[in-house]
């Protein structure tokens, strides 16, 4: 399998009150196409920073990040934006959307902005509706974002992240603000996407969420302390065993 994302000796340092804070220290890892990788670790360990630096949303201090063979540290701001628009999808813990747009318009917005997508506006709308139908939220297409529940909105965010057929989706605690039922629904959708071939990297505190991934990276103090390969999640019957195994490994890691 080809590598979608590779980080080599990745460092990220913040200067706060003239004090140097090394958030990421020589991080090395790679993600293959079709993988679903969870990043876990205690609060403040650098999980989200890792996600944002490898996705080009934040700059890196040292090292190298290759995304689909391109060194993102060397890309200009405009090229990075193009990369995020066409090749990456993003899901955040909070369901950020533009408040003056309907749910469907929020979903198709990246596609309308993209030069990669050569289609009419009508076709874009049809694709957006198709995605919404797939995720079971077609009924809220014309609603304002203030009129729908958190779970529905997060699924809309997944649709938005998918609209430009990205090579990889980055999700920062996608279920963090959801209740158990909504959380399960969202994870089911992400798992489905992964099974269909979309590469996913997500940050989570939730073992149940991580148990649905193919691999888990455990990060402590800006370093990857270990990684655990669970294999492909296929059905709910595996869940209990995957959770137990993952929990044991996390205990070893000091979780």
């Amino acid at each position: 399998m080809s590598k979608v994302l590779t980080a080599k000796d990745l460092c990220k340092t913040y200067i706060v009150n003239k004090r140097q804070n090394n958030v990421l220290r020589n991080v090395n890892f790679s993600i293959d196409e079709g993988e679903m990788v969870a990043i876990m670790g205690p609060s403040g360990s650098g999980k989200s920073t890792l996600l944002y630096t490898v996705s080009g949303m934040d700059s890196i201090t040292a090292g190298e990040v290759q995304f689909c063979g391109r060194d993102i540290a060397k890309l200009k701001e405009k090229e990075l934006a193009g990369l995020r628009l066409d090749e990456m999808g993003f899901i955040f813990q909070q369901m950020y959307m533009l408040k003056n747009l309907t749910v469907l318009d929020n979903i198709i917005l990246p596609s309308c902005q993209s030069d990669k997508i050569k289609e009419t506006r009508k076709e874009t709308v049809q694709r957006g509706e198709e995605l919404m139908r797939k995720l079971g939220i077609i009924s809220i297409a014309d609603n304002d974002i203030t009129e729908v529940s958190g779970g529905q909105l997060q699924r809309a965010c997944i649709c938005r992240s998918m609209i430009n057929n990205p090579k990889m989706i980055f999700a920062d605690e996608p279920t963090g603000a959801l209740n158990r039922t909504s959380s399960d629904e969202v994870m089911d959708e992400l798992t489905k996407l992964n099974n269909e071939g979309t590469t996913i990297m997500l940050v989570t505190h939730d073992i149940k969420v991580a148990a649905k991934c193919t691999r888990v990276l455990y990060i402590v103090d800006g370093n990857i302390k270990g990684e655990y390969n669970i294999g492909k999640y296929e059905n709910a019957s595996q869940m209990r065993e995957r959770k137990r195994a993952l929990n044991n490994w996390l205990m070893e890691m000091g979780w």
Binding site: Y52, A81, L98, N100, L101, D105, L109, R121, E147, S161
Partner: protein, 788 residues
């Protein structure tokens, strides 16, 4: 604890707090200076005339016949409380020349007076009283220095009769009596020795000596009646007339006044927006405070204290800024006048306090919602749970536009309230600029010609003969002179006829009143060639037309009879028509061609009117204008539009104010755009960050934000352009009405109104919004994750 919350708030929300402080400073500055200017302009002429000591009633006599008689008449008049007489000498329009001998532009006949004989107060440019002139020097009133491109230290040469003296210009003075643009007799103040020398040609002095009389009285009508016994009265004017003479200056002053009111409105509209905007920003925190048990009153007082502190700081800065700002605005209007009010900066202080009070009132009302909100409603930014209102107006899926344009348009249509501040502010400023553009354009066009006379191909002003004809023996002398001029021009290959409108000063009496009034009769132009607003032109000896002003003064209407004393005979004349004129502020009677003409009652000859008989093209007329100018080097040759501008001498001042207004509008547009855009950026950080995160470039986001202001500015400019036409009529017609012209056809230049000026406002807005929107580049994509 509250103090700590307040301190943290001021520190943490620095950008929004600085923006709010800026708005407060602007509001206080605009309202303080604006209110002071309103009061100053409203008191304008009275304050100036009182300060100069002009009195209640003024008279000018010409010729030596009045010398000695004036005092005896006034002494006998009971209603005259006191009076002052100044002696001076009138020169021809060409008597003042440059050092190199070239003629100077003077609207009417200049008057020369010794400063030792001054009975009223004159003021210099700094509004300080002037009482001395050094030998060999001269102080010049009005716009003479400016019009002739002179400067202090330049030398001029004055020739009266056989006497010629050279004088050095020591400065300009403000002359409350004669300095207005409508009177336009330039007064030259000399040292006594120079004056004695200048008046040493006794023959010249006899015909040109004048008396300027300032009368204090409580009964102006009786005084008016009494002065009819003084021989050689050339002009009478009460306080109302003198105030009217400053109508041109007051137009400029009123422009400043309206501008001040506009700025006050704009500042409060913007202030209301920024307070409600910043309070809405606080809702989330208010919700948290409510959730942990703080009482609504305490929370509310916390924010009100914050606004109190900010408004006091902003109020103090705004107050100090308002003084130079207000003076700058007034300076453009006070070139010829001394403006002021007796309240001084007290008005600025009171309006600053008033503004602070209004700010607190806004804050009180905006925080009023705090009481009604549950903690969760507040956390949901003031919205009510499931009853969130619909926001999205347009559908991206149904448009073909790029997202930046779609989002800009959708933002405005979905939340028009947010942009209403921008639209209202820009609309008010643009509308005002356009009204002024229409006014100036009308003043510079021949549209007003009907209010000054009849339209001719060319007008000749300042020929030496026009002054000499005032002392003509008979009407025939004038006719001969007109014929001579026509022959001279015709001899140059420009066949023409020359005519002139003459104004006589006769007594007119109705059953109710008796007045001394200007009566116009033309030579070479028939009475029925003039425009009449109602009735038909006077045809017979005993028929006249009057202006609405005269109709009011005499309390006589069409069909009524007015007795006119032509000197040797009194004729009962029937009013056959009304007409409008801006000559003599509309106080004119038009006589029929058959009415008697007694040359000794001539008050003034207006410009010679030249009408070519071979029907030349406009281009040919312009070329003939140059030829005639060469023929009469000392005269001024004008076409109809130039003649109107000459009569309305306020045009250059209006153009200067127009430029000032456009500059202030541009500054206001820039300020409002910058401050509102910064507020929007601060409010929309999360949305900008998320757009960046999903791949929108900085350029697209800047374009989105810029387009919003562009659309708002375009809407405001289009609305202002449309509204400017009826609004010009509504606002400016009454001002022309004060000058005697109630029915004005405004000159609307579509290119300037609908394209150039809106384009300037639009371009400035786009530039200001674009530069400010560049600030969005500083918002990092990672902020999408750490927004509250």
């Amino acid at each position: 604890m509250y103090l700590n919350i307040l301190k943290k708030d001021l520190k943490r929300k620095k950008t929004m707090n600085v923006i709010l402080l800026m708005f407060i400073i602007l509001a206080v500055m605009f309202s303080s200076s604006g209110l002071n200017n309103v009061l100053t302009v409203m008191n304008g002429t009275d304050y100036y005339l009182d300060k100069a000591g002009v009195g209640d009633f003024t008279v000018i006599t010409m010729g030596s016949e009045s010398i000695g008689n004036t005092s005896s008449v006034l002494e006998k008049t009971e209603c005259v409380k006191s009076y002052k007489i100044e002696e001076c000498i009138a020169g021809s329009q060409n008597c003042v020349r440059n050092e190199d001998g070239t003629k100077m532009e003077s609207k009417n006949n200049p008057l020369f007076q010794s400063i030792s004989n001054a009975k009223m107060n004159f003021f210099n440019e700094n509004n300080d009283a002037v009482s001395t002139v050094k030998p060999g020097e001269v102080l010049i009133a009005g716009n003479f220095i400016q019009k002739n491109d002179l400067k202090i230290g330049d030398k001029i040469s004055v020739k009266l009769g056989d006497v010629q003296i050279d004088l050095k210009i020591a400065g300009m003075v403000k002359d409350a009596f004669l300095g207005s643009d409508l009177i336009g007799n330039t007064r030259f103040l000399l040292n006594q020795a120079d004056y004695d020398k200048l008046t040493s040609d006794k023959k010249f002095l006899k015909n040109h000596i004048c008396e300027l009389i300032y009368i204090e009285t409580d009964d102006v009508n009786s005084a008016k009646a009494a002065v009819t016994d003084i021989p050689g009265v050339a002009f009478t004017g009460d306080r109302a007339l003198l105030k009217m003479c400053y109508v041109m200056e007051m137009i400029v002053a009123f422009v400043v006044l309206i501008l001040s009111i506009c700025l006050i409105i704009v500042s409060f509209v913007v202030l209301r927006f920024s307070i409600s905007f910043t309070v809405a920003e606080e809702y989330r925190e208010i919700g948290v405070m409510k959730a942990i048990g703080l009482k609504s009153g305490k929370i509310r007082s916390l924010y009100i204290i914050k606004y109190l502190i900010m408004s006091i700081v902003g109020g103090i800065i705004g107050f100090f800024a308002s003084i130079p700002f207000g003076n700058m605005l007034l300076m453009s209007a006070s070139r010829n006048m001394v403006f002021g009010n007796n309240s001084g900066i007290l008005i600025n202080i009171l309006s600053a306090i008033g503004t602070i009070f209004i700010i607190l009132l806004f804050a009180y009302r905006c925080t009023g919602k705090v009481k009604k909100l549950t903690p969760i409603d507040a956390i949901r930014c003031g919205q009510k749970g499931e009853r969130f209102r619909k926001k999205s107006f347009l559908r991206l899926g149904k448009t073909k536009s790029k997202p930046s344009l779609y989002m800009a348009l959708n933002d405005i249509l979905s939340a028009p309230g947010r942009f209403m501040t921008v639209i209202i502010s820009f609309f008010i400023c643009t509308l005002f600029v356009l009204i002024l553009v229409n006014t100036v354009s009308t003043m510079k066009s021949p549209n007003l010609i009907g209010t000054f006379g009849t339209e001719s191909d060319l007008y000749i002003s300042g020929l030496d003969s026009s002054m000499e004809l005032i002392g003509a023996e008979s009407k025939m002398d004038v006719e001969n002179e007109l014929e001579r001029i026509a022959d001279e021009i015709t001899a140059e290959g420009m066949p023409c006829k020359v005519s002139v409108d003459i104004q006589y000063k006769y007594k007119a009496a109705s059953d109710e009143n008796e007045i001394s009034v200007s009566c116009a009769q033309s030579i070479g132009i028939k009475a029925d060639e003039y425009e009449y607003t109602e009735g038909s032109a006077p045809k017979y000896k005993n028929e006249i037309a009057v202006t609405p002003q005269i109709s009011k003064m005499l309390e006589a209407k069409i069909g009524d009879t007015v007795t006119i004393d032509f000197g040797s005979e009194k004729i009962d004349c029937i009013i056959t028509a009304y007409f409008q004129t801006m000559n003599n502020l509309g106080e004119v009677i038009r006589l029929s061609d058959e009415a008697p003409a007694y040359m000794k009652f001539i008050a003034t000859l207006r410009q010679y009117q030249v009408d070519f008989t071979d029907d030349p093209s406009e281009k040919e007329i312009e070329s003939r204008k140059i030829k005639i100018q060469k023929l009469y080097e000392n005269a001024e040759i004008m076409n109809a539009a130039e003649y109107c501008m000459d009569c309305l001498s306020v045009v250059p001042a209006m153009e200067a104010v127009q430029l000032l207004l456009l500059s202030i509008t541009i500054i206001v547009v820039i300020l409002v755009t910058i401050l509102v855009e910064r507020s929007f950026i601060s409010d929309e950080r999360s949305q900008i960050a998320i757009l960046k995160a999903i791949g929108f470039t900085n350029g697209t986001i800047v374009k989105w934000h810029t387009l919003r202001f562009g659309i708002a500015a375009l809407a405001a400019a289009v609305l202002a352009a449309i509204a400017s036409i009826p609004m010009t009529n509504l606002c400016i017609s009454p001002i022309f009405g004060m000058m005697g012209a109630s029915d004005i056809r405004f000159n609307i230049e579509p290119l300037r109104i609908f394209l150039i000026y809106p384009a300037v406002i639009f371009a400035v807005t786009i530039a200001a919004a674009w530069i400010t929107a560049l600030h969005t580049r500083k918002i990092r994509t990672s902020e999408a994750t750490n927004i509250e």
